[in-house]
């Protein structure tokens, strides 16, 4: 079936796009509808319309509802979509340059650095920079871990894909061990906040902070997309890619740094959310084939939709408690992928 479906999917690409956007819109709307207070879709779009063009629509809702929609659920839904899109983009790109189908944003030490920074803020420094303390330190930790990986890669001459992956994994273990030292030394009563952060959550989303992930996602995502041809070439092997005019080792490091930027900012605002970056690109390849001109944007779209729904489930399954979203992505995503593997067996 793989042959027939790949031919069909090529011609069906605009349909995939249109369907994807419609599903994304529905998902965002639904994510705002559901919760402790359920809200009608017309109200959701009414509030948005009035925020964009004040006075466009007669206000038929209470100020409380507007606050729930505009201050809580809208930013949370947008953050979910951006984190899902970002992690999926990073996973897809890293898989190409390492030629490793198991590569994901958390493999190469970036997230461990983020976790280190977040744990440091949660257990040791206190919120000395206000609400942005945890995201800022997590982001700084991600960048530091990235710098360490790059430094070690240079010292250890990790110019090949395998050695870069091994370097990243080694650094990841070291940084994670150090992060565990911080937990061990920290106040045991506060460690549950760390556990919750590590399992991921979108509950702290605010309009004022959304600009950072948005800017990083838009610029880095575009940067990756214009390099789709090189990413395709990287999948056929280092030496062959170099005969196509690509400076292989340098290109791989560039992708790694861009991936680290995206991952760092996403981890900073949402914790370590697994599965999305690893699996979404594989699902997308089953849908639209392997050309990165399609894989990258569709991965972003599917990642966004997937994380929106994961968050909807995380918020409602044990309401009024928020279940950590990492549990949902792993459980639902894993089961879904097993089902997909079974359906697509060759």
């Amino acid at each position: 079936m793989s042959q027939a479906s790949s031919i069909k999917s090529l011609h069906a690409l605009p349909v995939v796009w249109i369907a994807g956007f419609i599903v994304l819109l529905i998902s965002v709307t639904f994510a705002i509808n559901v919760g402790a207070v359920s809200i009608a879709s017309s109200t959701v779009w009414g509030v948005l319309a009035n925020k964009l063009y004040p006075g466009l629509i007669d206000v038929t809702w209470s100020a409380g509802r507007e606050a729930i929609i505009w201050d809580l659920r809208f930013p949370r839904a947008l953050l979910a979509a951006m984190v899902g899109a970002g992690l999926a983009l990073v996973g897809a790109s890293l898989q190409a340059v390492t030629r490793n189908p198991l590569a994901d944003p958390h493999l190469l030490g970036i997230s461990s650095g983020g976790a280190f920074g977040a744990i440091f803020a949660l257990l040791h420094t206190g919120l000395f920079l206000g609400l942005l303390t945890v995201p800022l330190l997590a982001f700084a930790g991600s960048l530091a871990a990235t710098a360490i990986v790059l430094g070690v890669a240079r010292v250890a001459d990790a110019s090949t894909a395998d050695r870069l992956v091994l370097t990243g994994v080694a650094v990841s273990f070291i940084v994670m061990a150090l992060a565990n030292v911080l937990i061990f030394l920290g106040d045991p009563r506060a460690t549950h906040t760390v556990v919750f952060w590590m399992l991921g959550g979108l509950g702290l989303a605010q309009w004022s902070q959304l600009v950072y992930p948005a800017v990083v996602l838009a610029t880095c995502g575009f940067w990756l997309w214009v390099r789709a041809a090189q990413l395709n070439a990287m999948t056929i092997g280092d030496e062959t890619a170099s005969t196509l005019g690509i400076s292989v080792a340098r290109f791989r490091l560039e992708i790694f740094v861009i991936g680290a930027l995206i991952t760092g900012v996403m981890v900073a605002f949402s914790g370590v959310i697994g599965f999305v970056g690893l699996m979404v690109p594989h699902v997308v390849r089953m849908l639209v084939g392997g050309d990165y001109y399609r894989v990258l944007p569709i991965s972003a779209l599917v990642g966004a939709i997937f994380l929106l729904w994961a968050d909807i489930i995380a918020r409602t399954i044990m309401a009024p408690e928020d279940m950590p979203i990492g549990i949902v992505t792993g459980l639902i995503g894993g089961i879904f992928f097993v089902w997909l593997l079974r359906r697509n067996r060759m």
């Binding site: 190409a96 999948t235 280092d238 062959t240 005969t243 196509l244 005019g245 390849r285 084939g289 392997g290």
Partner: protein, 261 residues
Amino acid sequence: MSAAKLNVINACWNTRRGDPILKPLSLSLNAGRVMGVVGANGAGKSTFLRLLYRYQKPSQGRIEIDGRDIWALSPRLVAQNVAAVLQEQPTDFALTVREIVELGRTPYRSILSAKNENDSTIVDSALRKLELSEFASRRFGTLSGGERQRAMVARALAQEPNLLILDEPTNHLDIRHQLEIIELIRDLDMTIVTSLHDLNMAAGVCDEILLLKQGSVLAFGPPETVLTNQSVSYAFNVSAQSEKLMPTDRLHFTYTLMGRT
């Protein structure tokens, strides 16, 4: 398409520790000629080819294509002139055969330009030349070893090189497809450097043979002068016996292990 003149000027390659893998080597190959690189495992064939396709930089000396040092040119410009078909196996990332062949156009595309008409004509003709048209929308990962090899040759042709480098191009191919590749090598209007294990095939298709042993050149020249019983026996550490095949008048080697009969 046109052919390029290749000059290797005193080029050598050492490991980081300074162990010589390929000792200083000079040769020149006229435009349109076919050179076979032969020698035992570890003789330095792959290293020599890597110098030619600009994957490894010579420790000393230089490689010139039409008089220009390849390390003085941009990787992209070299890729418009030199293509290589290697033994590397691509990881399966769900690309189709056509998308693999289209990769050959990478060196000609600027960062935002879409595929144009000209590219797709070139890709079509490369697919046709390797009899892959009906496989075009198949996933590369589902092909047999021989079909993959042909797809990689088609990809190299789509690059429109004037120097084509082939590393054991007939490996994994059945007899018919081996002959077709050899036929293609003869017909292509470009300079070709190919490593080959099969000396009889090398003698049949190559204009020049480079015979290597332990990183040094044993001989370089036309097959009849390079491939002698003595040189082949020494290079491969076997007892080699050549004869002229009867109706075709072609050179044919048979081998035995030394000290055995």
